[in-house]
């Protein structure tokens, strides 16, 4: 808590504590959430649902974010050690981010995990998603590299 922003009593209550309406707002939203959860639980598979709800948050906060941060640090520092210009890091970072993001969103199709339901739905086997993802990945890395080269030429 900041001690430098002590001013009027109203200001104080804002920084030190919280306005009292906030607790009421939380309680109201919890009540609505409890109702919504009860409607979901009425359908059964409560453990499975909770595993997904809590699992999504844990997987993001304790796995995905630490992993991409660690990868970023590892590659970023090795690129920096290789003596490349600081800005070059971002020309690897951004295409890697886009490629990773597409994998994160489309992994069931790219890795063929939903082949059976996909075939039942469409009448065809999902065959070209991996190829397309690889092609997009190659394209964004080349585009980013091209922009870097252009920047260097213009910078001279």
């Amino acid at each position: 808590m900041s001690h430098s922003s002590v001013g009027s009593p109203r200001r104080l209550s804002r920084t030190r504590g919280r306005p009292s309406w906030q607790l009421a707002a939380h309680v109201a939203s919890f009540a609505l959430a409890i109702y919504a959860f009860s409607r979901i639980f009425a359908g059964g598979h409560v453990e499975n649902y909770l595993a997904w709800f809590v699992g999504a948050a844990l997987l993001h906060d304790l796995v995905l974010l630490p992993v991409y941060s660690a990868l970023d640090r590892a590659f970023g520092s090795s690129l920096a050690r290789a003596g490349s210009r600081q800005r070059f890091v971002n020309h690897v970072r951004v295409p890697a981010l886009i490629s990773g993001l597409l994998m994160l969103v489309y992994f069931p199709l790219i890795l063929g995990l939903s082949s059976r339901t996909y075939t039942n739905a469409t009448g065809h086997h999902p065959s070209d998603y991996l190829r397309n993802w690889l092609l997009i990945t190659a394209a964004v890395f080349m585009l980013s590299g091209g922009i870097w080269v252009l920047r260097r030429i213009r910078g001279r």
Partner: protein
């Protein structure tokens, strides 16, 4: 047991987080970007829920408790493409939001490791509220994304969980916005809403440090500007939009939807447009091809009609989309008999609802109920032909329903019986 005042080593110590970009401005800016997007996703989701007409028959694949909010629904007589538009927005804007949600969570991750975990009832409520907010947005995005890719990796009912999950999200988001409004205002007032985006890498500096805030007490050298960070997230959004949106727009754009679940067109001819569940997977191949097929139409009386009999009735051609809840759509020129004419055929002249059943034996959407306005709509057809040829087995031969503004799964294929119920 008392919680020690000193945080345990690791992420609970403020100095663990070193990015010079984190701070109230960045978190506020990402939040302000996300709010309109998530509002669109929530509203179109509600519209979709009500487009199923959960008040009629068994239109939802679970027992609806009569608690749907009819607040947001499509007005009667809307353009036929309205559901293709709203659901296309729901899915594509949802995808666009993903990189921004991830960036936003990155920008506030030190908050997860606040120490001590809670100082008072209010802060405990805040932590719980954050769990609901983060858990519900990630749950909604994850289940939505996996559902459009027909990857059903769960046991719970998707429609139920995704719909009520949205209630949890909207409730916790509303409180979050109300509480953080002053933070956003003060961040924008002191730093300017857009000014930090003007700074290149050389001018990128940490926001002023505040005890217990988001700014790192020992920030590292920046390796990218805030502008670059926002641009990278927006680039991710653009990439997701580009690889997907073609399946919603359709036409020549479809084949540029490189990763979209329905970005493929197989075969040639008028029947070469995306299908949802093949005749084979639905177990109707034999029955659908049987020339002995008859349609049973029930109202004031029951009438049995052959396909030839239907073709002898007045034929109408309408350009209507099949718009799937998964966000893809395809607009085709359908020819067939008006639902209103079929109502009259069985002696129903006043307003009536209609329950259409497929002769498909299994499947949650083998039946759909339409409201009186949909039955009376002259564009609503029992389609026999598409693009000038007979509809194919996979598209619902011998006959399928096509109703403007109805979700694709309600445009029942392989129709066996139609029951008109006159409104009292």
């Amino acid at each position: 047991m008392r919680i020690p005042e000193t945080p345990p080593p690791g992420p609970f110590r403020p100095g663990f987080w070193r990015s010079p970009l984190r701070g109230p401005w960045l978190a506020s800016f990402l939040g302000v970007l996300l709010l309109p997007l998530l509002t669109v996703v929530a509203l179109t989701g509600w519209i979709s829920h009500n487009a199923y007409r959960p008040d009629l028959g068994h239109n939802l694949p679970y027992a609806s408790g009569g608690d749907f909010l009819p607040l947001v629904h499509l007005p009667e007589g809307s353009p036929s493409w309205i559901y293709a538009l709203t659901q296309g927005l729901h899915v594509n804007v949802g995808l666009v939001a993903i990189p921004l949600v991830l960036a936003k969570l990155w920008s506030v991750i030190p908050r997860l490791f606040t120490w001590p975990p809670a100082r008072s009832t209010v802060t405990a409520a805040e932590r719980l509220s954050s769990l609901l907010l983060v858990g519900s947005i990630l749950f909604e995005l994850a289940t939505g994304v996996l559902n459009i890719e027909v990857y059903y990796a769960w046991h719970f009912n998707f429609v139920r969980a995704h719909y009520y999950g949205a209630w949890v999200f909207v409730a916790s988001l509303a409180v979050h916005v109300a509480i953080k409004l002053s933070t956003v205002r003060s961040a924008f007032r002191t730093r300017g809403a857009l000014r930090p985006l003007r700074d290149g890498l050389a001018d990128t500096e940490p926001e002023p440090y505040e005890d217990g805030g988001l700014v790192s007490p020992r920030p590292a050298e920046p390796t990218m500007s805030r502008r670059a960070l926002v641009a990278a997230a927006a680039g991710g959004s653009l990439a997701l939009l580009l690889v997907n949106v073609g399946e919603s727009v359709g036409g020549p754009l479809r084949r540029f939807a490189l990763l979209a679940p329905r970005g493929r067109v197989y075969g040639t001819g008028p029947n070469a447009f995306p299908i949802n569940r093949t005749a084979e997977a639905s177990g109707v191949s034999v029955l659908a091809a049987d020339p002995g097929w008859r349609l049973q139409v029930t109202g004031a009386r029951t009438v049995i009609v052959s396909r030839g009999g239907l073709l002898e009735m007045a034929q109408h051609t309408e350009s209507l989309p099949i718009a799937c809840v998964e966000g893809w759509s395809t607009t085709q020129s359908w020819t067939g008999v008006r639902l209103a004419d079929l109502a009259r055929l069985c002696g129903v002249n006043g307003p009536a609802t209609l329950t259409v059943s497929s002769f498909q034996v299994h499947g949650p959407f083998r039946q759909a109920t339409f409201g009186a306005d949909q039955v009376a709509d002259p564009r609503s057809l029992l389609a026999l032909r598409v693009g000038g040829v007979d509809i194919s087995l996979d598209h619902g031969y011998p006959a399928r329903v096509v109703v403007p503004g109805a979700p694709g799964v309600h445009c029942t294929k392989w129709v066996g019986t139609m029951i008109f119920t006159e409104l009292a």
